[in-house]
Amino acid sequence: MRAALLRIATLVRKEFLTLLKDPRSRIILFVPAILQSLLFGYAASYDLNHVPYAVFDQSRSAASTALIARLDGSGVFERVANIHRATEAQELIDSRRALIVIRIGPDFARRLAAGEAADIQVIADGRNSNTAGTALGYINRIVDSFNVDWRQSHGLAGPPVTVSIRAWYNPNLETRWNMIPGLIGTITLLQTLLLTALSVAREREDGTFDQLLVTPIRPGEIMIGKALPSTVIGLIQATLILLVAQLWFRIPFEGSFLTLYAGLGLFVVAAVGIGLFVSSLVATMQQAMLFSFVLVMPFILLSGLATPIGNMPMFFQYLTFANPLRYAIDLTRRVYLEGAEATQLFSDLWPLAVIGAATLPVAAWMFRNRLT
């Protein structure tokens, strides 16, 4: 037993040396994780803060000017043109210079003064319909607040029914708060899986794997020796992204680190198991990279990272039950944003444990069979 531990320790030490002695691979281990979390943090947001728009103001009244001033003052809408013909709207949208064109009809002021409903027409560029929908939502909110003030200043009662809105866990509804905790699992999965698969494939391709086999180290010990360094590096990468989330993006951490790391530990073990499984299928580094990538894509797409799992058809929702990343992302978000406790996370923890417990023995079996 002691001898086995010693052999594993030697192998782990050797793995760390191979990973860390090459300056390029040292950089590749840690820089992409930080770079990706910064990149995603800034880029992966459905929130809008620069919406170019154009106005076709046929009313030219004090009321229409006041409404436009509200858009201009919103900090989100940026007026790129005042147009005078309907055909100009088409051209502005087609050429993507404006995302939104607002037309205020000639009888706007009259209808408003007469107490009738005054329409404004809004056209949005639907080439990305999610962006268009978000922008329209902003416009509705601005018009609502215009209405409330207008009614007040004209001695009318406010609207009879108002809706007061409160959002739990993310008061300003920022997409970033949702995205970055989700990235902790995603980037860790990508890197851990690749690292594990590559470290075995590299030895196979170089022929050093055969040399390992003639040493007293047993196949099971080789596997543990390959798995441990990847697990450690996976957890370090997760920590780096966690630090970026807290120190750079200043997203408040509500939960307990112990709970988070317990969950992430289980997840990384499952990821390493999948990596070892891939490595037993491949002969070259190229295959290891391509297979890991082909495997990781559906894991990421069906994880709820960018689009909610609840929107998927049932068939795909069932598929996600086998996806370790689904549980890791859910767990991280709940611990990070909601401050969920371990007892509330049972539904995420046990599937991760099952996936880890299933992939490691299968990987071990495949590993042994490929060797003999």
Binding site: V122, W150, V161, V294
Partner: protein, 384 residues
């Protein structure tokens, strides 16, 4: 080497023969290796199915708790509006505590709360409905918020039409239209966006790996001692992956039209031309990254960072580019993906609008030329 080879007389037939031989060798290598098949064929098909069927940003049947502490007709009418809406899957509850428990257990995404004095305050004209949202999924929460406000406004308008005075939601109402995608279906931009991902994977990622492998194993140097010239080696690499990329394009266009009924309003010729340009750029990045690093691992990481992630994040495919910080926006201008996404979204949904097509295609053409020249230069250097 000091004795450079003498300039040879032009030998077009020989050149063609050598390139053809290399293309055949490369194609055989692709077909033989299960991992290239996995990336070149399995992956595109999988992406098409997942993007087409599984991914959606449109909220339908969002689970919503409706807490009614007031059983007046005014409240019942607004609640009925929620129950009839295709956007919500409502569960009527009687206490706020029950609803909050359901939200904590993730059974509902939001709570609409009609307080006990709702009917009395409607009569007085200042009733309030509370909406509590789970903000973890901020995008969905915003969409639900919009739907709830819409449902409340609609019931107010209904009451106005029934003759209750002074109940219209506001004097100014917004009539909105979403051009190019009237039904507001997120497949319309997700499926064309796929073409960027697939072309990038085949063009840049696969090529970077394959070429770096040849450098790493020294098989490229073995080629240098044959009569094959540098540009012929490059052509031999580019042609098979170019064809593979075009097959991926054909798959996507067919799936978009036949399976997902995404309109193709521009011409297929313009679409093919634009895709070819992007494919050349992607291939160029793959070739340059591999010959600059000569290591499969590093080349693949560079290809991933410089092409795949930008194609997903920095292209305008999912996330709006104008709302990113200036520094990130500058990066998007350097990378080819944004130009191709602008082209794809326009050609698919808006039509052949030359004011968009020409400038974006021109940038891609320049990038393709520069990258191919660079690939050529880095490959030749090794020959000397």
């Amino acid at each position: 080497m000091t004795d450079r080879p003498q300039p040879e007389p032009r030998d077009d037939a020989g050149k063609l023969r050598r390139v053809a031989a290399l293309v055949i060798k490369e194609s055989r290598q692709i077909l033989r290796d299960p991992s290239s098949i996995a990336l070149g064929i399995v992956m595109p098909v999988m992406l098409i199915l997942v993007f087409g069927y599984a991914l959606s940003l449109d909220v339908r049947n969002a689970p919503l708790a409706v807490v009614v502490e007031d059983s007046s007709s005014a409240a019942r009418e607004v609640v009925a509006g929620f129950q009839l809406s295709p956007y919500f899957d409502t569960q009527v509850m009687t206490s706020m505590a029950e609803a909050e428990r359901a939200m904590q257990a993730r059974e509902v995404d939001g709570i609409v709360h009609f307080p006990a004095d709702f009917a009395r305050r409607v009569a007085e004209g200042d009733a309030q409905i509370q909406l509590v949202l789970n903000g973890v999924d901020a995008n969905s929460a915003r969409i639900i918020e919009g739907y709830v406000l819409g449902a409340v406004a609609q019931s107010a308008r209904r009451r106005a039409a029934e003759g209750y005075a002074n109940v219209i939601a506001g004097p100014v109402t917004v009539q909105s239209r979403i051009w190019f995608n009237e039904a507001n279906d997120s497949h319309y931009f997700l499926v064309p966006g796929l073409i960027v991902l697939i072309m990038t994977l085949i063009g840049a990622f696969l090529t970077a790996l394959v070429m770096a492998r040849e450098w790493e194993r020294g098989t490229l140097e073995a080629l240098f001692v044959t009569p094959v010239k540098a540009d012929e080696i490059l052509l031999g690499k580019v042609i098979p992956y170019f064809v593979m990329g075009l097959v991926g394009l054909a798959l996507c266009v067919l799936a978009a039209r036949i399976l997902f009924h995404v309109p193709l309003r521009g011409s297929i010729l313009v679409l093919t031309g634009a895709s070819m340009l992007y494919l050349l750029v992607a291939l160029g990045i793959g070739l340059v990254a591999s010959s600059a690093t000569r290591s499969q691992f590093v080349a693949s990481q560079i290809a991933l960072l410089a092409t795949f992630l930008p194609a997903m994040l920095l292209s305008g495919f999912l996330f709006d580019l104008r709302s990113m910080p200036v520094a990130v926006q500058i990066v998007t201008y350097v990378l080819p993906a944004r130009y191709f996404v602008a082209l794809l979204q326009t050609i698919f949904l808006a039509g052949d609008i030359w004011s968009v097509i020409l400038p974006n295609a021109a940038v891609l053409a320049v990038m393709a030329t520069v990258l191919m020249a660079l690939a050529r230069a880095t490959t030749r250097k090794k020959l000397a």
